[in-house]
Amino acid sequence: MSSTSSQRAVYARIRSNPRFAELVSKRQGFATLLSVIVLTIFYGFFMVVAFTPKVIGQRLSEGSYVTVGIAAELFMFIFFWVLTAVYVKRANGEFDDITTEIVRDASKEVK
């Protein structure tokens, strides 16, 4: 699936645009940060399950059946989903705006 020469020219233009480097580092940094948060919480939780299962069943307060485990999981379901929403909002807004601008500039200059 090779690109045409005019496409290659656009790719080269885009690469030389400092805004492209900025887009990539911003978006990649953001995605990496969010991934690290998810993976840390998720595998941290799994390690608690594996090594100190007693903590999972501890109740948050006397007389309530909401345990550490149930609360932590509900938190993960909601929090991870909120993170996806945060990423989608920023990527579809801020990042895509920069992308559109970069591509438009590069295509214009080539023609």
């Binding site: 690109s3 496409q7 885009i14 939780f45 799994f46 299962p53 999972i56 069943g57 991870f80 992308t99």
Partner: protein, 554 residues
């Protein structure tokens, strides 16, 4: 036993797995369920109507493989949820919460947590680089023939194992729910799948998955609300009663036997998370949307539905402890605490009957059947795309096949896959197919995922590295599962497993990465240099979507 249970649970996304466990041996043909059959006939009528409509819109290869790339993020999100949540999600996970309590919830978070990662690391690059199959991405700057052949081999392996597991599960479930004969059930599933895929392609498959996802969400929610109304919608009341009657008592609040050690926990987490990210039928869904924006939205909606539904299932499982577990009507011989009629996986169905009578039971049964159809259709389409787009059009014909020829091969392939699925389903009827889903996930995580992610992120990847690494992952995953307890002992009847864990991902996935990276680094051929040089353009396209496959106009 624990390890086996893990494999079992791993496959809860796939119908077969849960049935493969306690239900398979216990499946007895039930009396004909007319409500269920009636509602199922309505579903089939509706989906066939859609297929007819879709057939009129399926003219080009792009229409067939990706619905012309015109699916919206919301529709695709529902379809992904429909593809991802199988009948066993509903039945198996409810049963797990019923039997083990909070352990089931721990499994559900593992099924869920892969989605944010797919979004952050893969979704937009998949859409920007891919066209019809994920091999479009891995072979983007590498040797087309070699890399596509490797991707097609591992994809078809995944699809076949997954299909067999689904078909066996489908046969068992339908026998149980509808009172139909196993073989007849397989022919019904296989035939409907062939009709949807061959005539309606991705358009029909997507809509079958969307309708099914709506039915599943609605059915589950209704059962949950009716069940919770018996406890005044109070979680405390529910738990208080559940703990007082459950044989495990307070222990249902603690992790039990399902995650015995860190290795199992980690391997399971890795396998689920990255296996999902390497399943060809899930990856293919990312090519159906208009652009990267919609691809991201798909994940947002899909993960929202999945997260919501898992929490519904948690409540259903706990409610079933009291509503089903204390009702002699649902136990063989009316013996509470004895054997549940139809096997452990029927808990969700019994709950539906207890709170909503035969009508709700019929509806939920129809949902389960619809679910199986939606999942096998997605699989068959992904398999057909591998055969026609990768093997036929690119490897055999070197890209010289016309669109009509490629389309004809893809339709023949879907019919072929349907026939293969029916035959294998019949052949494996009496076998414990639990290992097959573990294998499918293991291969997806070990052969597809490493090469895919490296091709998108690492400039140094070469054809030699990708091919050797991909095949090592494939072989390692197959070998580890073969030598594990679930095949070596359970299926082959040996005394001792040679590989101590049932889930191979923790070992086979790093191996594939390592081999791919080392071989690529050692590769200094002229081709390798050229391949590395092309990464920069690919990188720009991955990041910006410039040059990406566009939605076809209708």
């Amino acid at each position: 036993m624990l390890a086996r249970l893990n494999v079992l649970l791993l496959g809860l996304l796939a119908p077969a797995l849960s049935f493969a466990g306690d239900a398979i041996s216990a499946t007895e043909k039930q009396p004909l369920n007319l409500h269920a059959i009636g509602m199922f006939v309505v579903f089939v009528g509706m989906t066939l109507g859609i297929t007819k409509w879709a057939a009129g819109r399926t003219k080009s290869a792009a229409d067939f493989y990706t619905a012309g790339g015109g699916i919206t993020g919301f529709q695709n999100g529902l379809a992904i949820a429909g593809d991802y949540m199988s009948a066993a999600t509903l039945l198996g996970l409810t049963a797990m919460v019923y039997a083990k309590g909070v352990d089931g919830y721990i499994y559900m978070i593992a099924f869920f947590a892969g989605w944010p990662i797919i979004l952050f690391l893969m979704a937009e690059r998949l859409r920007n680089l891919g066209k019809f199959t994920f091999a479009d991405i891995t072979s983007y700057r590498l040797n087309q023939s070699k890399v596509r052949t490797m991707a097609a081999v591992s994809s078809l392996t995944v699809v076949c194992f997954y299909l067999v597991a689904q078909m066996v599960g489908a046969g068992q479930l339908i026998k149980l729910l509808f009172g139909l004969d196993y073989t007849i059930a397989l022919f019904v599933v296989g035939a409907l799948m062939m009709v949807y895929v061959t005539f309606g392609g991705m358009v029909a498959t997507t809509w079958v998955q969307i309708i099914k996802a709506c039915m599943l969400l609605a059915g589950g929610t209704l059962v949950m609300i009716l069940a919770m109304s018996q406890f005044g919608f109070s979680f405390e009341t529910l738990m208080d009663k559940a703990i007082s009657v459950h044989s495990l008592g307070e222990k249902i609040l603690f992790p039990g036997s399902l995650l015995p050690d860190p290795v199992t926990a980690l391997s399971l987490g890795l396998g689920l998370m990255f296996g999902t990210a390497g399943l060809p039928h899930i990856l293919m869904r990312f090519f159906t949307v208009t652009n990267a924006k919609e691809a991201r939205k798909s994940v947002l909606y899909a993960s929202g539905f999945v997260a919501y539904f898992f929490n519904v299932i948690l409540l259903m499982g706990f409610a079933a402890i009291i509503i089903v577990g204390q009702n002699p009507e649902f136990f063989e011989g009316g013996n509470i605490g004895g054997k549940i009629i139809g096997g452990g996986n029927m808990v969700a169905m019994h709950l539906a009957k207890a709170v909503g009578g035969n009508l709700l039971l019929g509806f939920l049964s129809a949902v389960a059947f619809a679910t199986i159809l939606a999942v096998v259709s997605g699989l068959a389409l992904a398999g057909a795309a591998s055969i026609s787009h990768d093997i036929y059009a690119r490897v055999l014909r070197k890209g010289k096949a016309t669109e009509t020829e490629e389309l004809r091969v893809s339709k023949l392939s879907s019919i072929g896959l349907g026939i293969v699925a029916i035959i294998l389903g019949i052949a494996f009827e009496k076998m414990n197919v639990a290992f097959m889903v573990a294998l499918a996930f293991g291969i997806a995580a070990s052969a597809n995922f490493p090469v895919l992610i490296l091709s998108m992120y690492w400039k140094g990847l070469t054809t030699r590295g990708a091919v050797v690494g991909g095949y090592s992952g494939l072989v390692a995953a197959v070998l580890f599962v073969l030598l594990s307890k679930s095949v070596w002992v359970t299926v082959l009847g040996n005394a001792q497993a040679l590989f101590p864990y049932d889930q191979p991902a923790l070992f086979s996935m790093p191996l594939a990465f390592l081999v791919t990276i080392i071989i690529s680094k050692l590769d200094n051929s002229a081709e390798a240099q050229a391949e590395r040089a092309q990464f920069d353009d690919q990188y720009v396209r991955a990041q910006t979507g410039f040059g990406a496959a566009e939605a076809s106009a209708h």
